[in-house]
Symmetry: C2
Subunit: 240 residues, 2 copies
DNA sequence: TGCCCAAAACCTGTATGACATGTTTTCTTG
DNA sequence: CAAGAAAACATGTCATACAGGTTTTGGGCA
């Protein structure tokens, strides 16, 4: 069981700090605050909750760590724009503590990205289509520099997620990019010959073309093929 | 863009606290710690990093808020088991600040759960199949009490995610359960007649049967139909 | 020796006060 | 009225203190 008696996001967890966190998130909800809106100062919260500044600070800091709020010296905290924040840390934590395998991550990515690419083919603007294509193009141009190819590869998938016009997909895919960075090179090295590496890059171009053509079916098929090859490469490299 | 210049999970963010957070996660990685393993005490960290206890505490507290570590009075912090933690808060934050719509959440859920249900049909143990069926059964037995039906509904989807044997799917689906709780009743009320409500519950039974039968194709189809009906219900209720 | 229990040592939770530094507001002055 | 200095306000970090929980230690008893 992943969440044995999960106490949920607004938990009643003993401790003043948890109560303070709850009070702050509730404040955001009740006041209907949106990204950029200012929160009460620490001193205000201290008075309102009748707890020490220590407690209020730890609460603010916690929300900041999850990127639910933005903090910076001298100015009050503000509601944050949607951001990977905590999500990527949760995923990375799961992988580094061996509670999640790379293969499992790839299965999830495959599932999600087959959908995002189909949505992208349907809903992309021309500018978004151009972004996607540009990433594929940059991969091709830099195919001798793995690190650079990797960054454009990641950017490619993020661009597709954006073109899907569903920020939740972007959120999740971005959350995986940290893990991807740690395994990408392994998959690349497994593609021994230059020919195979070029074929992999061309797979991205195929996906881009399908998006530009507005063909969701074809786009999803290319994406699936891409992931199948990637997973195979990782398995060949001995990654369980 | 969801992550404009995201500084990643191990960011170099000005501030001693961020550095401390990084030091702690790095400690986990370097020492190869797993769930339950103990971390250094705050005093140790204070010495090791040459910063005040305040800073170290805020770092620990931040990781605790993300549920990457467990803290409790008197004992040292320990590495946490995989948990929704921050993820559900990020999602809820996105919804309450209107950066994410309910419909977008449902699209993601549909995408993911069509996959989990197929995997569950393939990989379920008998015990897991029984769990799923039991949830469907409990929904039927309590169909006059919406709140109870809802809890079993959520449990139903979580049970399927577990049966998929991929904790990442469980993680994501669980992250959505908070939002689901806030919208479920709306969808239920839209199903005006008792007959329709029963039909909705029977949809779950169909899914359960397909899982028990080990038929991934059929299971996915039933799941898709279930989500299509749910989304329709929400749209009828005027939820954008 | 082996076990149990009390004291000590250790650890986290919270409060208070202080000061540095960054930001916003206010007021003065040209 | 505008520009700039000063004040007010905010967060970042540190030091210290003490309450209460947990683990370790060590002594005494069977």
């Amino acid at each position: 069981m992943v969440s044995d008696r999960s106490i949920g996001p607004d938990e009643t967890n003993p401790g003043l700090v948890s109560a303070a966190i709850q009070a702050i998130t509730q404040h955001i909800r009740v006041e209907g605050l949106g990204p950029g809106d200012l929160l009460p100062s620490e001193a205000d919260m201290t008075r309102k909750l009748s707890v020490s500044r220590t407690v209020v600070r730890e609460a603010f800091r916690s929300l900041s760590a999850m990127r639910l709020i933005d903090m910076s010296a001298g100015r009050r905290a503000s509601v944050a724009k949607l951001d990977i924040g905590a999500m990527s840390m949760v995923i990375e934590h799961g992988v580094t503590t061996e509670q999640i395998s790379i293969q499992q991550v790839y299965d999830v990515r495959r599932t999600i990205e087959m959908r995002t690419v189909a949505l992208a083919a349907l809903r992309r603007t021309d500018a978004e289509a151009a972004d996607v294509q540009k990433c594929a193009q940059l991969m091709r141009e830099n195919y001798r520099a793995p690190e650079i190819v990797m960054e454009h590869d990641i950017a490619f998938h993020e661009a597709i997620a954006r073109a899907s016009h569903n920020p939740v997909f972007s959120l999740i895919i971005n959350a995986f990019s940290g893990v991807t960075r740690r395994t990408w090179v392994i998959g690349w090295r497994t593609r021994a010959t230059e020919e195979e590496q070029i074929k992999m890059i061309e797979g991205h171009a195929d996906i881009a073309r399908a998006i530009i053509a507005g063909n969701p079916q074809l786009a999803a098929e290319h994406m699936a093929a891409h992931f199948d090859k990637s997973v195979k490469a990782l398995i060949d490299a001995g990654i369980a």
